[in-house]
């Protein structure tokens, strides 16, 4: 039996499993068939593990324990989440053929409830990029138009969900890497509050910014996945001990009286007017549903890009030093001595974007530059947080566009790092402040999806979902499908 994931949300699949209308093997097989049919166009996966997935699915069917909403459901994992014994590359040559010997906490949680991991998705190398084009392995395409980028860095996970290959996927977001590809592919992506989801097993880019989060086709699905992956983990010193609520608790469709702030800076220079128009229409729809909408100011927004790229690259430069060819992964041949081993391994193992960020970070931390760059950026971060705090004193959520443009053409921006960095302006303040941020489809421009970003108070994902859900149910944009859906 073939199951179409466009027609079934997680709840529907779950109920069919419980009623024995379908089996976990049916679901796994459907996913594998989907990958066969469309992944030559999308290139969403670096690694698939069909045999293990079917074995696992069979086991789940035999146990017939579908207690958790995700039991028996196929999932795709970004290739920077450690999977025990299954190649995990971070889309880098330096980890070619590398098989971790442990599972990330989120992977462990999914395994425990019986979700079926079908493969590892493509991404920008070490999550550095916004188009999934810096991957060493392949170029993923946009589910709506295969001449466009899927966004990044979690482009593979986003395309896999938007293209109907899997019902849900996990990604990671350091500066927008879940929300922006979700926006570019017209699906739902959440970056949870910093500390909400364990980072144990997530290949670190920037430790103070990274979070793991879900990609789904609907807001409710997203909240259901977060219910399972969230929670305190003793192995992550930055993991929050706060109680995990039921994230679906506020999904009523009602936003009457909800106070929504719209920062004027999020519609400034560099934002495509058509994108701005689409997002403003979405906001008007929320207002029509009874929300109170006001324009506000987040005055330090324009400094976010610089502060972010300094902090991110500094932490990344240190986090990526462990890739030295000594203990695992790629080691260069023909080396004369240790110094030679380090330099050759890293120069041959890393791509240009990774090198660029390592260089920026190493410079920002170096003697003489530290105060003017790293420390200064950390102070700007404080000001950005204070901006948010002031707005959140009076408002429940902040909304605006997720990205300044819709998906652009493959190869268009990859050679202009400065332009790529500036395109992150709307998502990175959320990471710097550690807030939850959701992207839901706001509509289309020239046939490509536009993202509506909803930012919440720390640990208030429930209200973020409430807002996204109300808009989604009113607009019913998720019913519009990309052409690739006709392949099934």
């Amino acid at each position: 039996m073939t199951i179409n994931f466009f027609d079934n949300d997680l709840t529907s699949l779950h109920e069919q499993l419980i009623n024995k209308d379908i089996t976990a093997v049916d679901l796994a097989q459907s996913t594998l068939d989907n990958i066969d049919k469309t992944d030559d166009k999308l290139n969403a996966f670096i690694t698939t593990n069909p045999e293990e997935a079917l074995v696992q699915a069979k086991k789940i069917d035999e146990q017939s324990d579908f207690t958790n909403i995700l039991s028996g459901l196929p999932v795709a994992l970004k290739d920077n989440l450690a999977t025990n014994g299954i190649q995990t590359t971070g889309a880098s040559r330096i980890l070619e053929n590398f098989k971790p010997v442990y599972d990330a906490t989120v992977v462990d949680k999914l395994n425990t409830v019986g979700a079926i991991s079908v493969g590892k998705t493509n991404m920008d190398e070490f999550a550095m990029g916004g188009s999934t084009e810096t991957s060493y392995y392949k170029t993923t395409t946009n589910a709506w138009d295969q001449t466009k980028v899927p966004g990044g860095s979690s482009g593979g996970s986003a395309a896999a969900v938007a293209g109907g290959l899997v019902p849900f996927a996990l990604g990671s977001d350091t500066g927008g890497s879940i929300r922006q590809p979700a926006a570019f592919n017209g699906i739902v992506g959440l970056k949870p509050t910093y500390g909400r989801v364990s980072r144990w097993g997530l290949f670190a880019m920037a430790s103070s910014l990274d979070q793991v989060g879900p990609f789904t086709r609907t807001v409710k699905d997203n909240a259901l996945v977060l219910n399972t992956i969230a929670g305190f983990d003793a192995k992550d010193s930055t993991s929050s001990t706060r109680e995990v609520p039921d994230f679906t608790s506020k999904l009523t469709g009602d936003v009457k009286g909800l106070k929504i702030a719209v920062p004027k800076e999020y519609f400034g220079e560099g934002i495509d007017p058509k994108v701005a128009k689409t997002v403003k229409a979405a906001i008007a729809q929320l207002e029509a549903l009874g929300a109170i909408v006001d324009e506000v100011s987040l005055p330090h927004t324009k400094y976010g890009v610089a502060a972010y790229y300094i902090i991110m690259s500094s932490e990344a430069s240190s986090n990526l030093q462990r890739y030295d060819g000594v203990r695992y992964g790629f080691r260069a041949d023909d080396v004369k001595n240790l110094e030679d081993l380090y330099i050759k391994t890293r120069s041959e193992g890393f791509g240009d974007e990774v090198k660029r960020r390592i260089m920026l970070g190493t410079f920002s931390l170096s003697a003489g530059a530290y105060d003017a760059f790293f420390k200064k950026a950390a102070k700007i971060r404080t000001l950005l947080i204070e901006d948010f705090n002031k707005v959140f004193a009076d408002y429940d959520v902040i909304v605006g566009p997720t990205a300044p443009t819709v998906a652009y053409g493959l190869g268009e921006e990859i050679d202009d790092p400065t332009a790529m960095y500036l395109a992150d302006v709307l998502t990175i303040p959320v990471n710097l402040a550690g807030l939850p941020g959701l992207s839901v489809n706001a509509g289309f421009v020239d046939g490509l999806p536009v993202g509506l970003q909803i930012i919440g108070k720390p640990f208030d994902e429930a209200t973020v979902y409430q807002t996204g859900y109300a808009f989604e149910q009113a607009s019913r944009l998720f019913e519009q499908l990309p052409d690739i859906a006709k392949q099934y």
Partner: protein, 479 residues
Amino acid sequence: MATGNFETTIGLEVHVEMQTNSKLMSPSPVHYGDKPNENTNVIDFGYPGVLPVANKGAIEFGMRAALALHATVSPFIRWDRKNYFYPDNPKAYQTTQSQTPLGTNGYLDVTLPDGNVKRVRIKEMHVEEDAGKNTHGTDGYSYVDLNRQGTPLIEIVSEPDIASPDEAYAYLEQLRQAILFTGISEAKMQEGQMRADVNISIRPFGSSEYGTKVEMKNINSFNYVRNALIFEEKRQAEVLRAGGIIQQETRRYNEPTKSTILMRVKEGADDYRYFPEPDLAPIVIDQSWINKVANELPKSAGERQNEYVSDFGIAAYDAEVLTQTLAMSDFYDATVAAGADAKRAANYLIGDVNAFMNKHQIELQETQLTPEHLAGMIKLIEAGTISTKQAKQVFEAIMVGEDPEAFAKKNGLVQISDPAILLGWITEVLDNNPQSIEDFKGGKDRATGYLIGQLMKMSKGQANPGIMNKMLLEELAKR
């Protein structure tokens, strides 16, 4: 102290491995001497995606060291990363506390060879990770063992108060003892549990500016430190007298020649790109936590010596011997607490027990002796139950784990002091030896010796000789 017309300034950064159960940032065991890489996991190997979690025990051990050295314990600690590539440093950064050290502004009062006491100020103390171990092969390869990687260290940084190689030596010895008595480390030099980075500069007398520092790293013998400093003091003076300049450089001590060798000249400061460690939560230490650790902190050697002299009447020298190690001092305290006479316990530990340890080349805790057994034997002596001569046999037995009372009983090592029994034997011996009584009365002292011999034979050596002698003389006088 002077070398020609120069005065010497020495700074020491001492690293001590803290003997916690687990590593600073990973739960892998801390254990010396295991097979290579036995005590490692994904964290110690710096795998992608792993995260550190700090060991509470290591923080508390660090607090003990800070308290013992009169340092201020920082109320707020944020970890830092020190970045450098090396095979024994798997993450290519060491987790340390450069901005907010655990302890600041401490001191150690050092008794110098001339008997004067000098206060050496301690600038700061940080808890940090030890590195693994590289072995350099002759085959063009080096070999890496990460067992030691992540072992918690306490680094103790002195102010430049030390003015001579001898002072440096005295400081190190007394610092080692201070650390020993915190119970955080046995500070075994041969196992690399205590290592010193040394810097030394000289300047003309009266000069207000320090000279250029020369550094020597990771020396694990106090003698080597002293020798290296003696050589450097002389070398630098010769360079300056010849009109040369001292370069800022790192040198290595070479024991066979007792000299130092240039390793590299430093061009500016090393660039370790320190920055706050984003994977760890900060540590806040309040007074109640400090109080809790202070309560667990063993008494220092000095405090113990004073108590031994004033409370137990032990000679000052003996008190010093008893406090050479924490293990010996704790053992002594436990022996006295178990009811042993304090002086006798001291004599046994300093004499026979030490001799036993030397003979078998083992530590006190490796013997099977317990404070209860030592105290038990001493109580038997005190009660006159066994003679000091019999005690020799009992001592041999308790050193191999036997119970003193049970051993004495089993082997008939019981002294008979009951006058009624003794009188019976004396009467019998005297009755059987009238000639000896005659001899005694005739002034022949030898006669008593013969009689005592007979009595010991009759009592199978169990008669208490003191009491028996006295009674024999009394009985002879009556005849």
